[in-house]
């Protein structure tokens, strides 16, 4: 397989001004999103914006690990579920919100260390299998754990104002997007792209591949855990089958893959497209959701390897 990975052209190196523009655009969009309720946006619009931010945060978390390294993760839904349970258990034990969020993020990072330490030293599909089975294992385990409420789930005892989760999720999505752009530009990001290109060659020039992959996976898990935690504040009730559903892991990888994997702006496009698609399908064909998503993923991976965003950009450049 390694000889085949070389043929993918290295991504265009980003200029400093590109990153600056992206940071400004992200801050502006986040500010607009936070200001929407004050501008009189309806509850429906607020919900759409909220879910776009949630999926963007999850998608960027996935993008930081799988987009940059090429190691496919199916566990980001479970990592966000761990964050969700972490924050609710801590807050129900009367911890302050900040400390509870730290617990949530910490728990997700711990989980990523467990998955990563066993599987990231191996090449190929070992990591993917480890994540796939972690997802299944968490769902089965949480149904059994008495302090997690068992199959009946948990309810957040405190009643929070709606804006906390709304603002929190938009801020998190913004931080995740800017974080991705900065990581990709950094020395870490460049070394990781070298690993993705050819791990043997990267190792031979002294890049500690396993350690770097593990670092990225921890950062990625922290973001996924926080996204799940903020979402738990939004829904205020947790059921194992929802918090650890495979759907969230699917969304976490579909959003960057559809929009543009390993780019900072791609997942934003992907999140908007996904939320729009889901709303449209709810009107036209509610039961076709999985079928359409599977088909879309297939088409994107087969015909638009970098996702819809970069493919469109290339088409526009060519037509000029």
């Amino acid at each position: 397989m390694s000889e085949a990975t070389i043929e993918r052209a290295p991504p265009r190196p980003h200029l400093r001004s590109d990153t600056l523009g992206l940071v400004i655009a992200t801050i502006a969009l986040a500010a607009l999103g936070i200001a929407l309720p004050a501008l009189g946006a309806s509850g429906y619009i607020r919900t759409l914006v909220y879910y776009s931010a949630f999926y963007l945060a999850l998608g960027q978390a996935w993008n930081i690990m799988s987009g940059l390294t090429g190691y496919l993760s199916f566990a980001h839904g479970a990592l966000s579920g761990i964050g969700a349970y972490g924050v609710v258990i801590a807050m129900n034990a009367d911890w302050p919100m900040g400390a509870s969020l730290a617990v949530a993020g910490g728990a997700a990072v711990l989980a990523s260390l467990v998955i990563g330490a066993t599987s990231l030293r191996l090449r190929g599909a070992a990591f993917t299998f480890a994540t796939l089975f972690f997802q299944e294992l968490m769902l089965l385990a949480v149904r059994k754990l008495p302090f997690a409420g068992g199959p009946g789930g948990l309810v957040l005892e405190q009643i929070l104002p709606e804006w906390i989760a709304y603002v929190g999720m938009i801020l998190l999505a913004g931080v995740a997007t800017i974080g991705f752009a900065l990581i990709r530009r950094s020395r870490l990001g460049i070394r990781v792209l070298a690993i993705k290109g050819d791990e043997d060659a990267a190792a031979s020039i002294g890049i500690a591949a396993t350690r770097l992959k593990l670092i990225l996976f921890c950062v990625s898990a922290l973001l996924a855990g926080l996204a799940g935690a903020v979402h738990a504040l939004f829904t205020a009730s947790l059921y194992p089958d929802v918090a650890f559903s495979v759907d969230l892991s699917l969304i976490a990888l579909a959003v960057p893959l559809i929009g543009g994997v390993a780019t900072a702006s791609g997942p934003a496009l992907g999140a908007l497209l996904y939320v729009g698609l889901r709303e449209a399908l709810q009107l036209i064909a509610p039961s076709a959701h999985l079928t359409i998503l599977g088909l879309l993923l297939l088409v994107v991976v087969l015909y638009m390897r970098d996702g819809i965003g970069p493919t469109l950009a290339r088409l526009i450049r060519r037509s000029r």
Binding site: L72, L137, L290, L295, L302
Partner: protein, 287 residues
Amino acid sequence: MSLALQLLVNGLVSGGLLGVAALGVALIFGVMRVVNFAHGEFITLGAYATWLLVSQLHLSPLVGLPVAFVLGALVGVVVQAVVLARVTGRPELDVLMVTYALSVLGLGLFAQGFGGDFRSYSQGPHGNLDVAGAIIGWRSLTVLLACVAMSGATVLVIQRTRLGLGLRALAQNRDSAATCGINVVAAERIAFALASGLAAAAGCLVSMIGTTTPNVGHDLVLDAFVVVILGGMGSISGALVGALALGLVQSVVSYALDDSWSRMVAYLLLYCIILLRPQGLFGRAAA
């Protein structure tokens, strides 16, 4: 004593089904170097096809066995030619994503076409056999025999025929096999069709002893992955031995605790293998 015998029979039946599923996963990985996440959807395909035959056409579920095999093989050829052949030689992330997307697509189609209902039927072999105090249903016995026959036939094809020789050569070294004049494209297509056919036939058997849902194959294949990793990726004999071992362990754990514990044991086992012996119990260390 009769309890031990009962657990042994239960373990052999589920191990047999697991073996046929794992055989296909190992075959596809060995020959094509593809981890087929959509393998379970072929099992579900066979299960629904059999259910339709029995409930709509009032045929015996045993008729479903060859029908499911042919249907699975045909769909397999189409999927391989239209989708998988396009990603040969692409980065591993792309290949994994494609089979995963196929799996999502299959899950979606089954959920859309059949809804989430549990489908089962009462036709086919029935009655029980009392062997030294252990109750063995004729259905379970039929399933076990069919699994043994199918795995045996597959192993014979791989070990004793010219086609099998080509497949084994391909699994050993792709480039050398191609240089020796083996038609790599055709061999891959045949391997995938054979594996898909086996999966669909296993699905027919699953529908006979259990209930059919859109997820039925998906859940079985998770265990099959554990078995294939346990036996060493791509090793056919390793997969069969692993399947019987896991079937027996799960049968005991299901009895002592419950079904979800037996699944957890299987998944925890996977972590232990990855940690302690990534090449599998019977596999060689990666070159």
